[in-house]
């Protein structure tokens, strides 16, 4: 969802791998579901714990150690054009902070590093603490962590339509991501969890625009999540879809496998140059 280059994983081929990998994937999906369930629980916990002083204190501590260098004292930010400059965090809302840490984009080791999807760089507990702390700097401002419990019941048809209206322009019809500017590549949503997708929609990380309740109501948000998750698991009835990157990969296959194979056939069927005496020069 958020624009981040380089691409999280170079792996763009998805459908139909060897059976073993497929099984592995299925397990992974199951795992993701479990984690996701946990994520939801965590999200709810967050709201319950937000006022807890211990959590806030812990958040302030970690913030001071890991975030303040760039984002400044109490989330006030440092000039972005200076060294180690980071944007202010006051009022960005819980969704944004949670997304950034959850997807491993933050914390960065140094400010020049580009944001990329990584495993979470801290414990869930620490993440909750930071979210609580940053939220406390401007309570009630910015998008909260969305609750998308209902996504599995959401209308796929609505999801496809809403995805095409709001998301496909940057992420592509198959959510595979593409270059959307000089420094930015829209994320491949292959590795995103439902909660991460929803958080990104609401908070608009990186160069991505944000979509509030008025533009993308809760029901549509769940539908979009449902479609992205469905897209990922959806079989390709047409066969192997290498990269699903449309006419580019199709043209490549047509030349290499189509005409390429036929050229080999032609070469075997016809007469080769070495079969006859070469005798030029009369021209």
């Amino acid at each position: 969802m958020p624009a981040a280059a380089p691409r999280p994983t170079p792996d763009r081929h998805r459908r139909r791998r060897a059976l073993a990998i497929a099984t592995g994937l299925a397990l992974l999906v199951a795992l993701v579901n479990v984690v996701f369930g946990g994520g939801l629980a965590a999200a709810q916990e967050d709201e319950a714990d937000i006022s807890s002083d211990a959590l806030l204190e812990r958040g302030a501590q970690i913030y001071g150690a890991q975030c303040a260098l760039c984002h400044g004292e109490a989330g006030r930010g440092l000039p972005v054009d200076g060294p180690d400059g980071g944007p202010p965090l006051i009022g960005v809302g819980p969704a944004s902070v949670d997304f950034m840490i959850r997807t491993g984009r933050m914390p960065l080791d140094n400010a020049n590093e580009r944001l990329s999807h990584r495993p979470q760089q801290m414990t869930d507990e620490d993440r909750r603490a930071i979210v609580a702390y940053v939220t406390s700097l401007a309570p009630g401002e910015g998008p909260g962590i969305p609750d998308i419990e209902g996504w599995q019941q959401a209308d796929l048809s609505r999801g496809l339509h809403q995805f095409t209206t709001h998301c496909a322009a940057c992420h592509g019809p198959t959510a595979a991501g593409v270059a959307v500017g000089q420094r930015d590549v829209s994320s491949n949503l292959e590795v995103s969890t439902p909660l991460e997708i929803a958080e990104a929609v609401r908070s608009g990380p990186g160069v991505m625009p944000a979509f509030n309740e008025e533009i993308v109501p809760q029901q549509d948000l769940e539908a979009i999540v449902a479609w992205v998750m469905d897209l990922r698991e959806r079989e390709s009835p047409g066969g192997l879809a290498i990269g699903r990157s449309g006419p580019v990969s199709e043209g490549f296959i047509a030349w290499v496998l189509g005409l390429g194979l036929l050229m080999i056939v032609m070469y075997l069927l016809g007469e080769k140059a070495d079969e006859e005496v070469d005798d030029h020069g009369g021209e």
């Binding site: 322009a169 940057c170 959307v180 500017g181 608009g204 625009p209 944000a210 509030n212 008025e214 009835p237």
Partner: protein, 310 residues
């Protein structure tokens, strides 16, 4: 026409007799014939398998695969047949220059002159021929007329959209929008009320950040700007919004437009900015257009700056 000559047999190697060679040749052909036969059998089996796949409900991959095997096997069989069993054969055919013999040309020219004479000789005949030519040309012109029926000529369609004074700004669902619905960095496709989905009236509404200075060409509501969504280059919807830098990007040919600078072209092949829709808030608090776009939307055309004459 063709003097056919089979390729000369290779010189017998190391003491083998003609009979040996002949037997070897036979053996090779037998082997090839067996392989060709196997290929054709495979083709038969694959074709039958295709039948089964089809009758039992069909499955695209299996259909493709059986077709591939069937035709591939036929190809292999035929290839063995022609390359091994029939074997290479070389014939030489004569070729003549493409130009006709002089005598033929002369004869035809004479024939032409004498027969054309029957049509053209004499003033009246020549006159008739000219009129016939004229009739042919006029008819040809007349037959072009139906092409004109294919579509109406452009009147002012390219200069007008469904937007106009007091027309509400609605989203894709037809819901009117209020300024407070839009927060910074929001982007939403909007239409004039009553023309949701309209191709030439589609516009993109962007929520502006408070702290970024703007340089806009048309009056607008604070924190909001609306541009035509049709790229001024080749007409694709300018669907990508890079909120952090305030750039709209067209996914077709990558023209970028600066949202805070009146959609000025920042890079890419587009020749002019996206037209901005002048907007205000009506008495009930909804966003409305002050007027239609003040310049034509979409890709440029020759009389773009001349106006529609209305």
């Amino acid at each position: 026409m063709a003097a056919s000559d089979r390729r000369p047999p290779r010189t017998p190697a190391g003491g083998r007799t003609k009979a040996d060679q002949w037997r070897e040749q036979r053996k090779r052909e037998d082997r090839a014939a067996r392989w060709a036969a196997v290929s054709f059998l495979v083709a038969i089996v694959a074709s039958l398998a295709l039948f089964v796949v089809y009758i039992s409900g069909g499955q695209a991959q299996l259909e493709g695969l059986t077709l591939f095997i069937a035709f591939g096997a036929v190809g292999v069989g035929l290839a063995i047949w022609v390359r091994v069993i029939v074997g290479p054969e070389e014939i030489v055919e004569d070729r003549y220059p493409m130009r006709s013999e002089d005598a033929d040309r002369d004869a035809f020219e004479e024939l032409y002159q004498s027969t054309m004479g029957e049509v053209t000789v004499g003033g009246r005949r020549r006159f008739l021929l000219r009129l016939l030519t004229g009739a042919g040309l006029s008819l040809g012109l007349a037959l072009l007329i139906p092409i004109r029926s294919l579509g109406p000529g452009p009147r002012n369609e390219l200069f007008r959209t469904e937007w106009g004074e007091g027309v509400r700004v609605v989203d894709e669902e037809g819901e009117p929008l209020r300024p407070e619905d839009i927060s910074p960095d929001q982007v939403v496709t909007v239409f004039p009320e009553g023309a949701t989905g309209s191709a030439d009236s589609q516009a993109v509404l962007v929520g502006l950040r408070k702290d970024v200075p703007t340089d806009l060409r048309q009056p607008t509501v604070e924190g909001i700007v609306v541009y035509s969504k049709i790229c001024t280059h080749a007409g694709c919807p300018v669907g990508l919004y890079r909120a952090a830098v305030g750039e709209l990007l067209c996914p077709c040919h990558q023209s970028t437009f600066g949202v805070y600078d009146g959609a000025e072209v920042l890079s890419g092949p587009a020749g002019r900015p996206l037209p901005q829709l002048p907007i205000e808030v009506d008495r009930e608090g909804y966003l409305v257009a002050i007027s239609d776009f003040r310049v034509p939307v979409g890709p440029s055309f020759w009389n773009l700056t001349r106006g529609d004459g209305a």
